[in-house]
């Protein structure tokens, strides 16, 4: 018992140390977002703002068409997350559990899409988006981002690690493949799907380059473009950018906290012999 206590203290101690290192840069962004123009440049940088101001946040909300950008980004991120989660889990299941000709080739081909830098596929992708007529529209933002090998790979590995017994039991009960997938596998995937949901939402939310390339009209701008427009070519305005970033990361943070519970649901093996 005492040994376990000591272990627990050790765990907390190390965790706290690491937490502080992790928090430091983040905390600095937070405090920076409350600083005035003059204070943000002060050396050495102060950890707590001397004269905290809400001006930066006000500036972000007012001078940019903030609500429009926010809504656009929300539509973009939610659509991509929901849709890609669906199709990724289906593909991943096929790759993990089903046998079919060309399986190995398919998997490698899918993975290979992650191996070329965006800089060189950006222009061809733009050409394709243009061919569909989606330039300067939210559709052009959403559709190309629906498909990603990352999610497929993540889920495939997860499915491969699931104990087969549950699926076997389902099959023996007479469930169809789709039934097994929907009623047994999908519920078990909640932890990993939550993780993927957060990640997908996040990468959409923080995406800058593709929105910059595809979208021109300000009414279709996403948040990252709005935040970038606060840094002009001549002046950095870090306090404004930090304020914008803080506002920007709140939705993802909320989603993460909300999905926390899903992340830690374990597998229940009860009922299996």
């Amino acid at each position: 018992m005492v040994k376990q206590r000591r272990y627990t203290y050790l765990i907390y101690f190390i965790a706290c140390l690491l937490a502080v290192t992790t928090l430091l840069p983040f905390f600095w962004t937070l405090s920076g977002s409350f600083k005035t123009d003059v204070e943000i440049a002060k050396i050495p940088p102060t950890l707590f703002p001397d004269a905290p101001t809400l001006k930066n946040f006000a500036h972000v909300f007012n001078s940019t068409s903030f609500f429009t950008y926010f809504t656009n980004t929300l539509i973009y991120a939610v659509t991509v997350t929901v849709f890609s989660l669906l199709i990724n889990s289906m593909s991943a299941y096929a790759l993990a559990r089903l046998n079919f000709p060309g399986k190995k080739f398919m998997f490698i081909m899918i993975l290979s899409t992650m191996m070329v830098p965006f800089a060189v596929v950006m222009i061809p992708l733009f050409l394709i988006t243009k061919a569909f007529g989606w330039i300067d529209s939210l559709t052009g933002l959403i559709v190309p981002n629906l498909f990603s090998a990352f999610g497929i790979f993540l889920l495939r590995q997860f499915y491969m690690g699931l104990p087969r017994e549950l699926e076997e039991a389902g099959k023996m009960d007479g469930m169809s493949l789709l039934g097994v997938y929907l009623r047994i596998v999908l519920p078990l995937s909640k932890p990993i799907l939550s993780a993927l949901a957060v990640f997908t939402f996040l990468s959409c939310w923080n995406n800058y380059l593709w929105p910059l390339i595809v979208i021109s009209s300000e009414k279709s701008w996403v948040l990252t473009l709005g935040i970038a427009s606060m840094a002009s070519e001549y002046s950095a305005n870090w306090n404004l950018i930090m304020a914008g970033s803080i506002i920007g990361l709140i939705p993802t943070l909320l989603i993460f906290i909300f999905l926390q519970k899903q992340l830690v649901e374990g597998v229940k093996l009860s009922g299996i012999k």
Binding site: T22, I87, N99, P117, G161, A195, L249, V264
Partner: protein
């Protein structure tokens, strides 16, 4: 006859399951990659017409010492980053997993760096690592240690980039490991404790084997990722000082959008592609990925 039927059924089902993804991947990912390969066979400055080059770009790549230098830097980065990330994020996951209380708070804290965009994080770390007045050197100074030229020294810069890279994604891979840890039935550990196993024994014989598929993901993904690391390096050092952090994708980016040499950049990308795919296949073989 019956066996063939069910095999065919399975194949059809599989393709149906994968259809939407396959279609999308083909159009929006494979398509552009093939086009990029087509471009690599030309000279192209992006804004005017392409000129046929055959394999000239690839031949030039072989003789490009700056390219080889960037590949070397990328290899060093990967070699240090991947094991460090694996150990770090797994440790975080084990730490959090073993906490009776407040695990949610710690999970959120460790995940925070992932949420901030790499560009912003890059700027913040640039300030933290500043020579005279950056916070890191101030802390060192407090303990009487001389300041470190984190990003202004040609030797330190690469390792500082690795540090920032770790900070950026350790929370994410921690979550991946956590999800994997959740699925190891508690019964296994209970049985092991009854048999008298301590932490390390059950770690080696229960945790690690059951995390195999997750581990494959983490390792393969981080290798692919570190071969293509870009965002935070661009913001912090832009390849400097004196190309100390000019990793492959930075080199490719410079070649394409600064020097307007898209044909060559595409060729370099495919050289990188071959390397990454070979590494990946090798890892799959070593890690025995296909066994369930």
């Amino acid at each position: 006859m019956k066996r063939l039927d069910s095999k065919r059924k399975e194949a059809i089902a599989a393709y149906l399951f994968m259809a939407p993804n396959l279609l999308g991947l083909l159009i929006f990912l494979i398509g552009p990659m093939l086009y990029a390969f087509y471009v690599s066979l030309h000279h192209w400055d992006i804004i005017t017409e392409m000129r046929w080059a055959g394999f000239e770009n690839y031949l030039n790549a072989f003789q490009d010492s700056a390219w080889w230098n960037s590949l070397l830097k990328t290899l060093i980065y990967t070699a240090v980053f991947v094991p460090s990330l694996y150990i770090l994020s797994l440790s975080l996951a084990l730490l959090v997993h073993g906490m009776p209380k407040f695990s949610g708070a710690f999970r959120t804290i460790f995940f925070l760096p992932v949420i901030i965009s790499p560009a912003i994080s890059g700027v913040i770390w640039k300030y933290l690592m500043e020579d005279k007045v950056g916070l890191l050197n101030q802390i060192l100074d407090f303990f009487g240690i001389a300041g470190v030229p984190w990003i202004t020294d040609t030797d330190w810069a690469l390792y500082s980039m690795i540090l920032v890279g770790l900070w950026l994604v350790m929370g994410f891979y921690m979550i991946i490991f956590l999800a994997g840890l959740q699925d190891i039935p508690k019964e296994y550990y209970e049985a092991a404790t009854i048999d008298g196993a301590d932490f390390w024994k059950s770690f080696r014989h229960i945790t690690l084997p059951n995390l195999r598929h997750t581990s494959v993901f983490v390792i393969v993904m981080t290798v692919i990722g570190s071969f293509q690391v870009f965002d935070q390096i661009k913001v912090m050092t832009n390849g400097g000082p004196v190309d100390a952090t000019k990793l492959s994708v930075l080199y490719i980016f410079d070649t394409s959008f600064t020097l307007y040499n898209m044909g060559y950049a595409s060729a370099l990308s495919f050289c990188l592609f071959i390397i990454i795919i070979l590494f990946t296949l090798l890892q799959f073989k070593l890690l025995r990925n296909d066994e369930t």
